[in-house]
């Protein structure tokens, strides 16, 4: 509001300037015959009052008169290209707080709830089913896309994708915010995320599992685009894990070597460290100090072995994923298990030699 007033003030000033300027060539120009001397004062006053009163109260979209819930619900499905059963999708937007509020309202009016048929049902059941499907499908998809990535990493990406903040972000941007029926306003992230799960549950109920999985693939998984998946999983000791993995695939232990350095005595010192195994370069990385460069090179080597390098091919999404054959029973290797096996074997060897 205040911004628009400022803008109109500027506009008024511009108009005055325009009238002062001679404009002989323009045929359609109509000169102004007044200087509008009270307009500025009026706008100033309005601006002052707005500052005193404060900003406009935030209201639900449904509080305005041109709101048709049924047509909005219909448009929601059409926008996403999904055919919903109207009762199912309506149920997906009903939060439990809204049901309780309705119940309380009726009790206040003195109605006996036992006598009346109270057919409002909240979305918790749909959300539960939807959450299961999202969680399952995201894991299956990621395991098939990154078959050499460790299970811990897959879980880390999964947790990032199904987190409350991520799901609420998606729900907000596909337009669930205005449609949700709940007590809290502005709508809480938890409510938004539950609604998104319920919408997936609704797709599952109305259109079947395949369509629901496509829905998840179209709206949840693209959030990984331009995200570095290796950063989602924090490896505490990359060199230790690298040693274990190299031993597992029958290669020699990793050997870090300094490849190049520059400006060693300056604050902008740079070191390149390469990691060799069996005299073959596995990976190299720069760093501000030798220790950092070595650690980063170990991470790079792990990325190479897990086939999640920066140069990896993009995720198969959209129409290209229509004919995707996913192995639902696939389970990736666990880093913890690899480490456990390696160190127990090492212990055995040590005791045997001693």
């Amino acid at each position: 509001m205040s911004a628009s007033i400022v803008r109109s003030c500027a506009f008024a000033q511009q108009m005055t300037l325009m009238t002062l300027r001679t404009c002989a060539t323009s045929v359609y120009h109509v000169s102004k015959r007044n200087y509008d001397q009270y307009r500025m004062k009026y706008l100033r006053e309005m601006y002052k009052r707005r500052l005193e009163v404060g900003p406009e109260k935030e209201r639900r979209r449904s509080e305005w008169i041109n709101w048709n819930y049924d047509s909005e619900i219909f448009a929601f499905g059409k926008r996403l290209g999904e055919e919903f059963n109207e009762t199912t999708i309506k149920q997906a937007f009903i939060h439990s707080s809204y049901v309780e509020k309705e119940r309380a309202k009726r009790a206040e009016l003195g109605l006996n709830l036992k006598d009346l048929t109270f057919d409002l049902e909240d979305n918790s059941e749909l959300a539960e089913k939807g959450a299961d499907l999202i969680s399952n499908y995201v894991k299956v998809y990621l395991r098939n896309m990154y078959p050499y990535f460790f299970e811990e990493g897959i879980c880390a990406i999964h947790n990032y994708l199904v987190s409350e903040s991520m799901l609420s972000h998606i729900a907000k941007h596909i337009g669930c915010g205005d449609l949700i029926l709940s007590e809290d306003f502005p709508v809480l992230p938890s409510t938004l995320s539950q609604t998104f799960k319920a919408v997936v549950g609704a797709v599952l109920k109305d259109r079947g599992q395949e369509k629901a999985e496509t829905f998840v693939r179209d709206f949840v998984l693209p959030q990984l685009i331009s995200k570095d998946i290796n950063e989602l999983w924090e490896v505490v000791n990359p060199m230790g894990l690298l040693t274990a993995v190299l031993a597992l695939i029958g290669k020699g232990p990793p050997e870090p070597r300094l490849l190049w350095k520059s400006g060693a005595n300056t604050i902008m010192a740079l070191y390149w460290v390469g990691i060799y195994s069996d005299k073959q370069l596995v990976a190299k990385s720069p760093g501000e100090t030798v220790t950092i460069a070595e650690e980063m090179a170990a991470r790079e080597a792990l990325k190479k072995l897990m086939k999640t390098e920066d140069s990896r091919s993009p995720l198969i999404l959209g129409r290209m994923a229509d004919n995707l054959k996913l192995d639902y029973k696939k389970v990736n290797m666990s880093a913890a298990e690899v480490l456990k096996n390696y160190y127990s074997q090492l212990k055995k060897q040590n005791t045997a030699s001693a």
């Binding site: 570095d228 290796n230 950063e231 190049w260 350095k261 520059s262 400006g263 060693a264 005595n265 300056t266 902008m268 740079l270 390149w272 990385s285 720069p286 760093g287 501000e288 950092i292 460069a293 650690e295 980063m296 991470r299 790079e300 990325k303 920066d310």
Partner: protein, 198 residues
Amino acid sequence: MAHSRVTQWATMTRTWWIYDANYQCPFKTAYRLLPYLQGLNKPVYHSDSDVGDHVVVFNTKHIAMRGDFWRTFKHFHHTKFAGGFSRASAWRVHEMDPTRILERAVYSCLAGVETRKMMMKRLHLYPEEDVPEKILENVTGQIRQVQIVPKKLTDYSQEEIDKFPKLFEYPEDYDVEGYKRENRQEPDQHTSMKWRLK
């Protein structure tokens, strides 16, 4: 720790180069050093951004000028006071400061470049070979010289000199040892009176 952070660090790093100015033309050398100082060899180069490398130049006392340039090439200066103009020929300037000729050559090459003063700070000039150890530790690359270092008469052994076919005899009054003496006879019309040798 993000890998993108260290790759960024590697992109923005400044490499240290070394250049031997022994028997090198200062003007050709200046053009050779420019791309390194400006960072023209980097994919992130932009004329407004300061992404150049460091260049360490040693043996600037032993640069070589072609033709009669030591005598005729002049450096000018004006103090902005009346009668403040002065000029000095290259050999006189070189005598006063053995890094000055190369420094001015590079500086004038960078005319019109906004970041010229920043680049000049990254040019480290040393008259002799005794570059400090701390500076040498930073260096990782070498810049190719602009011309081949000639072999001097003193570099040949007496045996080789004697073996060389002698085509004629010097006249008896010819000053054979002249090149060994310091030249104090030079009238040096190119230098202001103030800077001339007394």
